[in-house]
């Protein structure tokens, strides 16, 4: 069973006015088989957490640790983290002109699996995965994310998830910008991934509607750069009803204290 352990994680970015600390000590453990939801106001640092785990060069870890099955994730390069079994479905997937989706997927699968997938089975595998997500096969010849609509980008993030089969997947607002049908298609995709193995999911969202499709084991409230409360699935409903007001104080308090 896989285990992602985040301990007292402090992260900062460089701004024109010097370094700015965005995460003020995050503690979180995600085990294979578990689904954790993270909810919190805009700008509270949810994406920062996701990027820091994935190794985005803009975010500097100033204290704390992240390990995957005991291995030091922070020592790994971005691609090593992915090959170790981490996956981040991004809030804003990046357009890469000139690289076809087909070529990209094959290169990624080759890297993550350690060998090039056999061509015949691979073509079939991609076809099936695309049709599962209601993606037109014509997308395979288009440049990565280039000119894709918001919803199409999100579907392709889940397509990559289903092909790369990571141990731990972080989904950063994969539900945002999806219409009702797309939300169901994407949720089904995530659930297929969950069902296929002993995998952990960290689901960042603003809305409970996705949690009706993907039931979380734990819900965390994120505010002011840290987790300020954790609870069961019903915590999400309470948040939707009452908002984050009651946690705002805790969050800003943390900022002042830092």
């Amino acid at each position: 069973m896989s285990i992602l352990e985040i301990t007292d994680l402090h992260v900062s970015v460089t701004t024109d006015d010097g370094p700015k600390e965005l995460l003020h000590g995050v503690d979180l453990t995600v085990r294979g088989g578990e689904t954790h939801a993270i909810m919190g106001p805009n700008g509270s640092g949810k994406s920062t957490l996701a990027y820091a785990i994935a190794g985005h060069p803009r975010y500097e870890v100033i204290a704390g640790s992240v390990t995957l099955d005991g291995a030091d994730v922070l020592e790994m390069s971005v691609d090593e983290r992915a090959r170790a079994g981490l996956f981040l479905a991004m809030q804003y997937p990046v357009e890469v002109p000139g690289v076809s989706m087909a070529n990209f997927l094959r290169s990624a699968a080759t890297a993550v699996r350690g060998e090039a997938p056999k061509l015949r089975t691979w073509v079939k595998e991609v076809k099936t995965a695309m049709s599962d997500l209601d993606i037109d096969p014509a997308f395979a010849d288009r440049s990565v994310n280039e000119g894709f609509s918001g919803g199409e980008k999100k579907r392709h993030e889940v397509l990559q998830l289903s092909l790369l089969k990571p141990k731990i997947a972080i989904l950063d607002e994969t539900d945002s910008g999806l219409d009702v049908d797309a939300l169901r298609v994407v949720s089904d995709g995530v659930n297929r991934y969950r069902a296929a193995g002993d995998v952990g999911v960290l689901l960042i969202t603003h809305y409970t509607r996705i949690l009706k499709h993907i039931t979380p084991d734990v819900v965390h409230v994120f505010a002011g750069g840290r987790i300020v409360a954790s609870g069961g699935a019903d915590l999400a409903n309470e948040l939707e009803e009452h908002g984050y007001e009651k946690y705002a104080a805790t969050g800003s308090g943390a900022e002042v204290a830092s």
Partner: protein, 406 residues
């Protein structure tokens, strides 16, 4: 139907190039065989403003003597056996001719001072005539050596209804100014690949004159890889209706390199087509002069050129800092009766976000960069139908990537 397209639909969201109205209409540009008929450029002229004149080694101001010798060999696609010998491939005639050969000039007239200087200075020209369906021919031009400069004159001719493939390879050191005439007979089809694989020191300023007979088709691919400064000015003109010119090209500029492509397509006859796609990748380095590419695409559709179909597209991929891509597409239309016309230019950066995205899927950094460059150039390289040549060029591009640690 008349349709004038601006940006290609697949480019929605891409940065639109600044189309500019040139100082004078492309149709009124001055041409002459005589170097003295041109003013010495000072650098601010429309057709010289992007070129670093200081690095031209006097090609533009008469101080280059052009008295060196560039070696020209003509052989089969595989080897370099000189086709001037008795066992020349069937359908290929190679001649070395004097300045008085009346065929010279059939392709066109120099339109800038360096082309005219080359025309005024060459002593003998090489004329390669293709007839029937000959095997592919390779012409290699080797520079005169470091410190020397040379004028070269080449003419390719196809007889009516010939189908042929020619590769022109530029190599070696030194400075070369040349004119390449490509004169297509009626109904002939010529595929020509021109590679600039110069040594690092080389300077090459070339004019290419494509002249298409009735219903003739030319597919030209230019590959600009080597040299310190390479400036190529292809001109396409049509002698009769039905002509079709496809001009593909790629340039890979690294630190300090200047690669310039200045195209002029002159649609003066009805029912002709032109299709242009030129792609540059740039990678500079800190502490070195910028990697610089220039693409100028002038397309003129004259009043008589009814039912013209033309599209030109320049795309630039900036891989690093310290790189500059200039792009000026320009379409002038003097008739209302055109089949379709469009031009576009887009310059994009390969940035940290793209690198992060690819790496976050497990792809190592060097593979990610190669993926991007290969994908970018694939469209051009895949159109090269000679597999050995294509593989050699792919390998040359890979090694450029490797050298710079990209």
């Amino acid at each position: 139907m008349t349709e004038v397209a601006g940006l290609a639909p697949e480019l929605a969201g891409a940065k639109e190039g600044q189309g500019q109205v040139p100082v004078a209409s492309a149709g009124e540009r001055f041409t002459s065989y005589d170097v003295e008929a041109f003013e010495v450029p000072g650098g601010r002229e429309e057709n010289w403003r992007f070129t670093p004149l200081k690095r031209l080694r006097g090609l533009h101001d008469g101080t280059a003597a052009l008295d060196g010798a560039a070696a020209i060999e003509v052989g089969g696609a595989g080897g370099t056996a000189d086709a001037r010998s008795a066992d020349a491939p069937r359908g290929v005639t190679v001649e070395t001719v004097g300045r008085d050969d009346t065929r010279l000039g059939d392709g066109g007239v120099p339109a800038d001072r360096v082309a005219a200087a080359a025309w005024s200075a060459f002593r003998e020209a090489t004329v390669v005539t293709l007839d029937g369906t000959p095997e592919p021919v390779t012409i290699s031009v080797t520079g005169p050596g470091a410190g020397a400069d040379a004028a070269v004159h080449l003419q390719l001719r196809t007889t009516a209804h010939t189908e042929a493939t020619v590769v022109i390879e530029y190599r070696g050191s030194g400075t070369v100014a040349d004119n390449v005439e490509v004169v297509l007979g009626d109904g002939s089809r010529l595929t020509v690949v021109i590679t600039e694989e110069w040594a690092e020191d080389a300077v090459h300023v070339g004019a290419q004159h494509f002249s298409l007979g009735r219903d003739a088709t030319v597919k030209a691919t230019s590959v600009l890889l080597g040299g310190d400064l390479v400036r190529i000015s292809p001109t396409v003109s049509y002698r009769g209706p039905g002509g079709d010119a496809e001009l593909l090209g790629l340039g890979y500029a690294d630190a300090g390199q200047h690669l310039e492509q200045r195209l002029f397509v002159d649609h003066a006859v009805p029912h002709c087509r032109s299709n242009v796609l030129h792609k540059n990748a740039l990678q500079g380095a800190a502490g070195r002069p910028d990697a610089h590419t220039v693409w100028i695409g002038d397309v003129l559709i004259r009043a008589a050129a009814e039912n013209t179909e033309t599209f030109e597209f320049n795309r630039n991929l900036v891989l690093t800092e310290h790189a500059r891509a200039d792009s000026v597409p320009n379409l002038e239309i003097e008739t209302g009766e055109i089949a379709g016309a469009g031009h576009a230019s887009a310059t994009g950066r390969f940035d940290d976000e793209q690198l992060f995205y690819l790496c976050s899927r497990g792809i190592p950094e060097d593979v990610a960069r190669r993926l991007v460059v290969r994908g970018f150039f694939g469209e051009i390289l895949n159109a090269i139908t000679l597999p050995e040549l294509r593989e050699r060029l792919e390998a040359a591009i890979e090694s450029e990537l490797a050298i710079s640690g990209v």
